[in-house]
Amino acid sequence: MVEQSELILTCGPGGVGKTTTAAALGVAAAKAGRRTVVVTVDPARRLADALGLDDGAAADEPHRVEGVTDSESDGELWALMLDAEQTFDRLVREQSGSRKQAEAVLNNPVYQAISGSLSGAQEYMAVERLHQLHVSGDWDLVIVDTPPSRHAIDLLEAPDRLVGFLSHPVYRTLTVGQRTFAKITDAASSMFLWAVKRLAGPQIVEDTVAFFRSLANIEGGLRHRAKQVSELLRGDDTAFVVVSSPRAEAVGEAEHLLRAIAEKHFPLGGLVVNLIHPLPEPFTDSDEELLGQLGPGPLAEQVEWHRQLTSLALAERTELVDVERLAGDAPVIELPLLDVDIHDVPGLVGLAERLV
């Protein structure tokens, strides 16, 4: 997968190590000689530091990650941190017919308020950024770590939702033709405007109408782009990697995600189950006999710990039977809960070796 795909998306529930997995896949691809960029969404601080991403606007542009490949190799790893607002701004500029049209959208207070926080905006911007990097031609492989979401499936539908928003009857009426706000007679739209006005005051109504109208200038471009992104996500060179942990709640979400990926015909690249407790080496029968008869003391404590860890590790493997079956023909990779969590490039290199 890391040698052939052009796009990889890691998705799954929160707290299972998605970002770390995405970065480790990037390391593996770079080591295989590919020019790779990893788009992270909300990296933990130390991982961000390890990838050379500090806070601020500059993090939105790719940075070379040092210490992954030696100078003789063609492979390189670059990383960036998704900035939803900047990605949205870039999209608006690209799709606008003129600078003036772009400024009208970008300067609108409603646009400024929602570009980073609109529900679903982060998901859409993650796939939009993927598209921007993919078509730039600068990269052999683009890996996108998706935003944490209870409903990770949101990402898959993000482009369709934007189209849904642009097709909403209220939005249509507000943006069609040159009618002024005062002349809007459509019942649904006037109720909508009245509701916003009653609830949030007249200023926001003017801003909202102005925002929707300015958006209308670039609507064709946005729709077209949403369609392209949607096709790209289903392309032959794309792979979705579902990341989970063995905990029942996470497994439930991963199963849901795997079913949705299959139903909507997205290409599944693999399932990674992370944070599995290591299974200790079992006792031989004769050792078992000896160790079963101990009185209290440190050795009894060690035996008890061995038994507990074994039973937890086995219970986790039972949890995984169904979800691993759902992965079908796609590879399943199990990664242990390590002695120490990964925060640096050498740690990522070690994880990359386990992954491939």
Partner: protein, 319 residues
């Protein structure tokens, strides 16, 4: 401090933590612990995570309030979700807004209105919680806040909205919610982490954000899923065997060591991270045990509810 005073020192308890740290489970255990002490508890699942109703001894939690569990001491746990659409409808009704505006706010146009008013959905949910608090709907309202990086925007929606919206009932609502969040006798936050580096860092950041900046009172900080201390693991299996006057085979040593080395480094990491949290924050600290199962059952929740109020869990009292 007696160990459970904090449970009911404010009517609203917002439980929050990053995805994967178990904050929903801790929220449910908190509700159960308070109900056992006789309180009438309302558990509000903002995101409606599947399975929480079953853990609390009842059916799946829906937008219709139901009683999940009655306890012998007179306490009970009720539960509901608060979908933004419903909160919006209730809010309009409360404001005496007539049928026309209510129809305008039908589910088809709430997404549009919410798009025009960022943070509105969160504010509507917090506004509904504030109404429940005002009505004294329960002795304690436990709010299972949205996870995965959305907890801070959720709690911050009230102060964020007042920057965009300058008049009208939304602004009033935002101000009333802010007022509730700033009053330690009305609302507090229970922040949850794991004993690992990244979650502890994020807990420290969340505490600074919600506590220091926003002025929300902080309940004890909770470090969830702590490995129980096992001094016996500090020794090598061969050393440990000496005090039992037993001689181990090489295979037994290897098996024991494969488990012990993992436990040792996890325990060391846990000690370091709890130490770091103690240095960074002044709040009392509670540790909850790591449950030896990947699948939670009601009895595990009972175990956590016990641990929340036993003095043994308190790593550090308030000063």
């Amino acid at each position: 401090m007696t160990t459970s005073d904090w449970l009911t020192s404010a009517t609203v308890m917002i439980v929050a933590g990053k995805g994967g740290v178990g904050s929903s489970t801790v929220a449910a255990a908190t509700a159960l612990a308070a109900a056992r002490s006789g309180a009438d508890v309302l558990f509000v699942a903002v995101d409606g995570r599947p399975g929480m109703g079953r853990l609390l001894g009842g059916r799946e939690i829906t937008d219709r309030e139901q009683t999940l569990q009655r306890l012998s001491g007179g306490g009970r746990v009720r539960a509901r979700t608060i979908p933004a659409e419903q909160a919006f409808g209730d809010y309009l009704e409360l404001k005496g807004v007539g049928g026309l505006l209510r129809r305008a706010a039908s589910s088809a146009s709430l997404p549009m209105i919410a798009a025009a008013t960022p943070g509105l959905e969160h504010l509507l949910v917090l506004g509904k919680i504030k109404e429940l608090e005002r009505e004294r709907a329960a002795d304690l309202i436990v709010v299972d806040a949205p996870p995965a990086g959305h907890a801070a925007p959720f709690v911050r929606s009230a102060s964020g909205l007042s920057e965009v919206v300058r008049s009208g009932p939304v602004l009033d609502q935002a101000e009333q919610v802010s007022e509730m969040l700033g009053d330690p006798s009305r609302a507090q936050a229970l922040l949850v982490a794991l004993p690992e580096e990244t979650p502890i860092t994020e807990l420290i950041e969340l505490a600074a954000d919600l506590g220091d900046d926003l002025g929300l009172a902080l309940a004890p900080l909770v470090v969830n899923a702590c490995w129980s201390d096992r001094p016996g693991l500090d020794k090598s299996p061969a050393m440990a065997a000496r005090s039992h006057k037993v001689k181990l085979t090489d295979s037994a040593k290897a098996s024991l060591e494969s488990a012990a080395s993992f436990g040792r480094s996890r325990l060391t990491q846990q000690r370091e991270q709890i130490e770091r949290l103690i240095e960074a924050r002044d709040e009392p600290l509670i540790t909850l045990p790591r449950l030896a199962t990947p699948r939670l059952e009601p009895e595990h929740l009972e175990e956590l509810a016990d641990a929340l109020v036993t003095p043994e869990s308190v790593v550090r009292d308030g000063d």
